[in-house]
Symmetry: C2
Subunit: 168 residues, 2 copies
C-alpha cells in the first residue's frame, strides 16, 4: 500500500463504488424502518432472534453471536439485555463452564420472530429480488461470494488445515 | 403484503441474500477497522469529511449531511460535534437564515482527509475491485443501480414533475 502513488479508482470503479454505498445504505435503512414500524424493533434485534432460532436448541454463546454480527461484545451484551427485558431471550451460564454466557430464544421470542418474518421477507423481495432478473441474482451471488471469501480468508491462517492434518 | 401466504425466498434467493449480508457487513467492518487503525476515526467520520470536501466551499447544511448518510439529525449533530472538537470541522449559521446550521471542513480537516484517503482506497481496492473482473464490476454497478433506484423512487412523488410543470 505504501510503495508509491496510490492507485485511485478509475471512472467505472468510482461509479460502482458510489452506487454500492448508496444501495447498501439505503437498503439497510429501509429494512430497519420497516422492522421498527411493523415489529417495534431494530434490524439488529431481528438478526439476533434469527441466529438463535437457527440452532437446534435455540441457543448460542454470546461470543459467537457477537462474532457473527460483526459486533463488539459490549454492544451485543447491551442488545441481548434489551431482548431479555422484553422476555424474548434468556441469558444463562452452563454448569460445566461458568465463564461462558449463553443466550436462548424463548417461546415468546420465537413467536415474535415468526410474526415479524413475513413483513421482512416481503421488504427484501420488494427492494432486492423483485428489482433483479434471475441472471442478475446469480451474478450478484457470485460477486458477493468473491468479496466475502476475500474478507474471511484474511482472518484465517492458510497453513491451519495442513497443520491440523499433521502436514506442517 | 398481507394478501395470503408470504412469498418466502427460494434456495437461490436465500443464498444470494445470506451472501449479500455477509459481504456487506464484513466489508463495512474491514473498512472501519482500517480507518480506525490508520487514521484514528470511524468510517462515519471519514464519510462526513468526504461529503464536505466535495462541495465548492467545503460546506453543507447539517440536514443535508444527515440525509445523505441515512443518519438521524441527533446522530449527525453528535458526530459533527466530535469532529469540531478535533478542529476538522466548524459549525456556523448563515446571516440570512439563522435557523440553518452549516458545517464547513477546515484546512486541518482537509489535510486529515487527504492523508487518510490512500489507505482507504487501497482497502476498497483490495477487498472489492481486486477480487472482481471488469465484467463483474459492470454487472455490480447495474445491479446496485437497480436497487438504489427502487429505494430512491419510493420517497419521491411520481406526479411531482408534472405538477411543477402545471400539467396536473
Amino acid at each position: 500500500m505504501d510503495d508509491g502513488e496510490p492507485r485511485w479508482l478509475n471512472a467505472e470503479e468510482r461509479e460502482a463504488w458510489l452506487t454500492w454505498i448508496a444501495a447498501t445504505s439505503l437498503l439497510d435503512a429501509a429494512l430497519d424502518r420497516q422492522m421498527q414500524r411493523d415489529a417495534g424493533m431494530p434490524m439488529a434485534y431481528y438478526q439476533i432472534l434469527v441466529m438463535l432460532s437457527e440452532n437446534a436448541d435455540r441457543t448460542l454463546r454470546m461470543g459467537v453471536l457477537a462474532e457473527r454480527t460483526q459486533s463488539s461484545h459490549s454492544r451485543m451484551s447491551h442488545a441481548v439485555a434489551r431482548l431479555e427485558e422484553r422476555g424474548w431471550v434468556r441469558r444463562h451460564t452452563c454448569d460445566h463452564d461458568r465463564r461462558q454466557t449463553f443466550a436462548t430464544l424463548t417461546d415468546e421470542g420465537f413467536a415474535v420472530l415468526a410474526a415479524a418474518a413475513p413483513g421482512h421477507v416481503a421488504t427484501v423481495r420488494k427492494y432486492l429480488f423483485d428489482r433483479l432478473t434471475p441472471e442478475q441474482v446469480e451474478q450478484l451471488t457470485a460477486i458477493t461470494d468473491r468479496i466475502r471469501t476475500g474478507l474471511t480468508s484474511e482472518f484465517t491462517d492458510p497453513t491451519e488445515p495442513a497443520r491440523q492434518l499433521g502436514l506442517s
